[in-house]
Symmetry: C2
Subunit: 226 residues, 2 copies
């Protein structure tokens, strides 16, 4: 009744922190109870599905990632895909899981200015820039995975980012409504917005980058006078 437990789909829950707790070990905490611990065949199929999906993306772009196509490419029934990932969004999210964990590890325990060791303001700047570029790297995937407004903000990976921003904000502007501000700030890095700005408005990444820096400065009230 207890199966080998690996390749979890969702990020581990990020405990709400009032204090700057930047322990890398956090990444490993809390994976116990809510990870279903797949059966051997299920885990194997899961891996094959993810691999197949990645291959399909590489070959035909995100639009080519049809649930039936993925199932066929993985030589698996269609129902299996849905059983494992819930829906298409879940599958795409799972594909982004690796990058998400990497980013999370970077700002939780990596070197400054992203990780602990730098000033909160510097970390916040670096954080936004990091998110920006990593999202651009896989923009199509992010866009495709972003349908459905409901889960967009409650996904663990997004929650982790928001919580991190909130923590940094609390160290910089403790008197502000950091919960709200963190949501606002993170939302300004919305993949759909990035897509619009870069691809539809033709803004270069440098502009978005300095836009984030400027926004942080304004929001935290740490603007150098012009």
């Amino acid at each position: 009744m207890l199966y080998a437990c690996f390749m979890s789909s969702a990020l581990p829950p990020f405990p709400p922190s009032q204090e700057p707790l930047d322990i890398p070990q956090l990444l490993e905490v809390g994976m116990g109870p809510e990870e279903p611990c797949l059966r051997a065949d299920a885990a194997r199929n899961r891996a094959r599905l993810l691999e197949a999906a990645a291959r399909l993306i590489a070959e035909h772009g995100v639009a080519g990632v049809t649930m039936e196509a993925v199932a066929a490419a993985a030589q698996v029934g269609k129902g299996t895909v849905f059983r494992r990932f819930g829906d298409r969004t879940g599958l795409l999210m799972a594909l982004l899981d690796h990058s998400d964990r990497k980013l999370q590890a970077d700002f939780l325990g990596g070197p400054p200015p992203l990780g602990p060791g730098a000033l909160p303001l510097e970390r916040l700047r670096a954080f936004g820039v990091a998110v920006l570029y990593r999202r651009v790297e896989q923009l199509d995937l992010h866009l495709a995975a972003q349908m459905e407004p409901t889960r967009r903000f409650s996904h663990p990976a997004v929650t982790a980012l928001r919580t991190h921003i909130a923590m940094l904000l609390r160290q910089i502007v403790p008197e502000a409504d950091c919960e709200l501000l963190s949501q606002t700030l993170l939302n300004s890095l919305d993949p759909a917005l990035i897509h619009h700005q870069t691809r539809q408005c033709g803004m270069p990444m440098e502009r978005l980058e300095s836009g984030w820096i400027d926004l942080v400065a304004r929001v935290t009230g740490t603007r150098a006078p012009d």
Copy 2:
């Protein structure tokens, strides 16, 4: 070959303005060339479809607005719905058109603090609050109409809002990247975000409202010291 022209679906294009041009007449400008001017039967069917859709929403919620259901309720073929509105999003957008125009009229030519006559900063504050409440009023509709990240930012109604913010910003912080800032600010009023904050996080509207006020103050650097 020239038909009666009424009940246009899209908002009139909002000409890019460097100067504060707040003439109500703007609402009527530019409706000429790109409005197709429907044929009589087409216009009649269009009206029936919108009415049917509204009725369906009232009865079964937004989820009940199926293209086939709307067509059936309007006693019209399914193809007609798509011909007229392009897709489901288009239909839902058209349903929001009235509110959009009203809001636009309010901040273009209505009484202060929303309309011209008040200080730019006051107008910006009032603008966000107005958008906030109007979106909450029809939140489900806004959410359903918001699928597809591509058109979310390029729709005329959204563009109009963003342009207006940009115009106000230029009067307050001319040295800033107002284009970018306006997108950021408007995105902080994203219906999906509002949904998450009010319904998933349980934040009261007052908090969102003061959050906007505070955000505007921070972004424009007009914060009163605590």
